[in-house]
């Protein structure tokens, strides 16, 4: 039993920390700290900085241009990025499609797409959910029909994150309507510039714009855009979701959130005293802090297991459930700590008198509402419970 990082890992952490201190522009970390939406330009700038250092595709092996990190190194990197308030790496090309192509893609697909993901030529988005296929993803209806050497795609995808910036979308499409749900699905790559594609924004609860509906009307793509075998897309879908769940505990983000809660509570006055001295509030903070402290160890235990066994196990579902609950609790505490100062709609109060805390807190309530998504996306917490029921409880 040894909870500390190895000397090698510590040296790596110092290297990452120093690199971030040197190369993460303050104007970018300030935006992240404020909780404001990140522009496409900021994300692309940050991706390019990391790519220059070879640290963008954190889970890719060296042969494909990744850093070849261990799960622990990847964890350290993410922890340091959170600590420095670096933008989150957009995962769709780098953490989702990349690994899929590396395992299921043809040599041509790998040679063509992977470098373009790395250098930012192609921005990818994910075409999974549909209006009628959320948690029950396998009931998806978007059809792809072969016509000569093309697929003709008709249907609708939704909740497509940052689809408004995307050059390409990877889609789960039904290619055999007569097969059982999971067995008639194929994984197809679609150029967003293809005629017949329409992107419509979905305005979210807090007023933000990060997800879209995407409509496909007689969209024709080459047969060669199929990844893996026809009707075997579900295997790929499941593989991808496993990767989506790594790092899902969001420990680094919760540590940020805890710091923010404490910083706000120190400056907020209640009954003539700092809110941090209020026993009711302090008790809620302390309890969340205890849960987060345990979560840090749970996360490391799962990482250690993943490192020993070569792949994350079904326990990652437990991480997802508890990690999102803790994060949401902290966001709630921050919003409560601000009290009436959380009320103004972002952008409506531009003079400084309502801004205080470690950064301006203008986006605080918006972040609280936006973060309700974390227990819904990536397989809702209820779906995670179903997974654990099958895999760990064997019921």
């Amino acid at each position: 039993m040894d909870l500390s990082y190895s000397a090698e890992d510590l040296a790596f952490r110092d290297e990452v920390r120093a690199y971030l201190a040197e190369n993460l522009p303050e104007r970018i970390s300030d935006v992240v700290r404020s909780g404001a939406e990140l522009t496409k330009e900021i994300i692309e700038e940050w991706h390019a900085i990391l790519n220059k250092r070879g640290w963008l595709a954190t889970i890719w092996p060296k042969e494909f241009g990744g850093p070849g990190w261990s799960p622990v190194q990847k964890h350290i990197f993410e922890e340091e990025c959170c600590r420095a308030y670096a933008p989150r790496i957009v995962p769709f090309g780098l953490s989702m499609l990349g690994p899929v192509l590396q395992v299921f893609g043809s040599k041509e697909q790998q040679d063509h797409y992977l470098p373009r993901i790395l250098d930012g030529t192609d921005w990818w988005c994910q075409g999974y959910s549909e209006p009628g296929a959320g948690s029950d993803l396998a009931s998806l209806k978007t059809r792809a029909v072969r016509d000569g050497d093309e697929w003709v795609i008709n249907g609708q995808k939704t909740w497509t994150t940052l689809g408004q910036f995307a050059d390409w979308i990877f889609c789960l499409c039904r290619t055999d309507p007569d097969a059982k749900n999971q067995e008639g699905i194929s994984f197809i790559l679609v150029d967003m510039a293809t005629p017949g594609i329409e992107v419509r924004p979905i305005k979210l609860i807090e007023g933000g714009y990060e997800v879209n509906e995407i409509f496909f009307t007689d969209v024709r793509v080459p047969i060669g855009n199929l990844v893996g075998k026809e009707n075997k897309g579900w295997t790929i879908a499941k593989f991808l979701l496993t990767h989506e769940r790594t790092g899902i505990a969001g420990v680094g983000f919760s540590m940020q959130a805890l710091e923010e809660v404490k910083a706000i509570a120190r400056k907020t006055m209640r009954g003539g005293k700092s809110l941090i001295e209020d026993p009711l509030f302090a008790a809620r903070v302390a309890q969340a802090e205890i849960d987060l402290e345990a979560m840090k160890i749970t996360n490391l235990r799962m990482l250690f297991k993943a490192q020993e066994q070569g792949a994350p196990g079904p326990e990652t579902s437990l991480l997802k459930i508890k990690g999102t609950v803790i994060n949401q609790e902290l966001k709630d505490l921050a919003r409560r700590a601000l009290g009436p100062a959380a009320a103004p709609f972002p952008g409506h109060v531009t003079e400084g008198n309502l801004m205080f805390g470690p950064a301006d807190t203008e986006h605080n309530a918006a972040r609280y509402f936006n973060n309700r998504k974390t227990s819904i996306f990536g397989g809702s917490n209820e779906i995670q419970r179903n997974i654990v029921t099958k895999t760990m409880l064997e019921l």
Binding site: M1, D2, I276, A282, I290, A294, M295, I297, L318, L393
Partner: protein
């Protein structure tokens, strides 16, 4: 980073799990835990012979372990079988004797049974509220006061008592035969004692003992938390097994999602509990030991209550019976909250650290 047990500790765990699994089936445990002397003296001797106590003390105190991880291995095994043997008292006494540099061979060989009296009815958890008073008399001391729920006190030969001394706290050794000791069985099995001290003669073991007492408490907390993890895992496994056996509406009740999801939530909390015990064990003896012990005891208090109450509820009537094991596990899980500081007390301790 390595979350595997060392080979030695794995062997210790295997030995204890095998021994307790064979010697302490739950029927036997129920039989011995609720009737005087509230444990099984023959099994205690065997447990001592296996070296369980040596694992609790560091080498320079004559033992073979004494780290947080040694302690958690021993107590997790005890928790799995709800063993009502008075190991907690031995552990805490061993920490105090080690701090005093006193010989503890008699403790480790089992020749002398120790218990530790810190708790008072008006000072259940707080050292600074202890009222028992030591007074110098001749070459030695006398103690006056009352110690409550002294675990293992019903069979102890020597009781180490925390008492006010010289403007601080001292630890004193009292022969049980010299004090007014009333032993009793506990709700969740095992025994304790109320100890009335009326000018009872005592030997000073350690003066200025606050730090040592805190270390003893922290070690005891790691032990209780590890015990709870062992008990929670068995309770959860029993519950999931019952899901597969018990049929209602023509199907095993484990087919009902309303039960499945609750069983998953229990599992999540058990993993969190295991994690915080690992952290507290790693920090034991260090500068922040008290903070992490408090974090552990708070989280364990919440998790143990969830596991106990949900297990009873999801079993239905059967877990309300004396005959069925889960009722006894549930009682232990609930009642250990009040040992060495409960959920709220330890939350307030963490708050104090945060405010400092």
């Amino acid at each position: 980073m390595d979350f595997n047990l060392t080979e030695d500790r794995q062997m210790l765990a295997d030995t204890l799990n095998r021994f307790l699994g064979e010697q302490y089936p739950v029927e036997h445990r129920i039989k011995v835990a609720y009737d005087a002397p509230y444990h099984d003296p023959a099994k205690w001797d065997q447990l001592v012979e296996l070296g369980a106590l040596y694992a609790l003390a560091p080498e320079d105190a004559g033992g073979m372990g004494g780290t947080g991880f040694d302690i958690s291995v021993v107590f997790e095994a005890l928790g799995k079988t709800l063993t009502p043997e008075p190991v907690l008292g031995a552990l805490m006494a061993s920490r105090l004797l080690a701090a005093a540099g006193a010989d503890q061979d008699a403790l480790l060989t089992g020749a002398t049974k120790y218990a530790v009296g810190i708790t008072e009815i008006d000072a259940p958890y707080e050292l600074d509220q202890i009222a028992t008073q030591a007074t110098a008399k001749g070459d030695g001391f006398t103690l006056s006061g009352r110690k409550s729920t002294v675990y293992g006190g019903q069979i102890a030969d020597v009781i180490l008592i925390a008492a006010k001394h010289d403007g601080g706290l001292g630890v004193f050794a009292v022969n049980a035969a010299d004090a007014n000791v009333t032993g009793y069985g506990m709700m969740d099995g095992g025994g304790a004692a109320e100890i009335l001290l009326d000018d009872v003669s005592a030997t000073l073991v350690l003066a200025d003992a606050e730090a040592a007492l805190n270390d003893g408490l922290n070690a005891g907390i790691v032990a209780l938390c590890a015990e709870a993890v062992g008990a929670m895992e068995v309770t959860h496994a029993t519950t999931v097994e019952y899901f597969k056996q018990r049929k209602q509406f023509g199907v095993p009740i484990g087919k009902f999602q309303v039960l499945q999801h609750r069983a998953v939530d229990m599992l999540t909390e058990i993993e969190q509990a295991r994690s915080i015990v690992i952290k507290a064990a790693a920090e034991l003896g260090g500068d922040e030991a008290s903070k992490y012990a408090s974090m552990a005891k708070n989280l364990i208090g919440r998790a143990a209550r969830l596991i106990a109450e949900e297990s009873i509820q999801m079993h239905g009537g059967i877990a309300m019976t004396w005959e069925y094991s889960v009722s006894h596990y549930a009682k232990r899980l609930i009642m250990l909250d009040a040992q060495l500081g409960d959920t709220d007390y330890h939350l307030s301790q963490v708050m104090k650290v945060n405010a400092a």
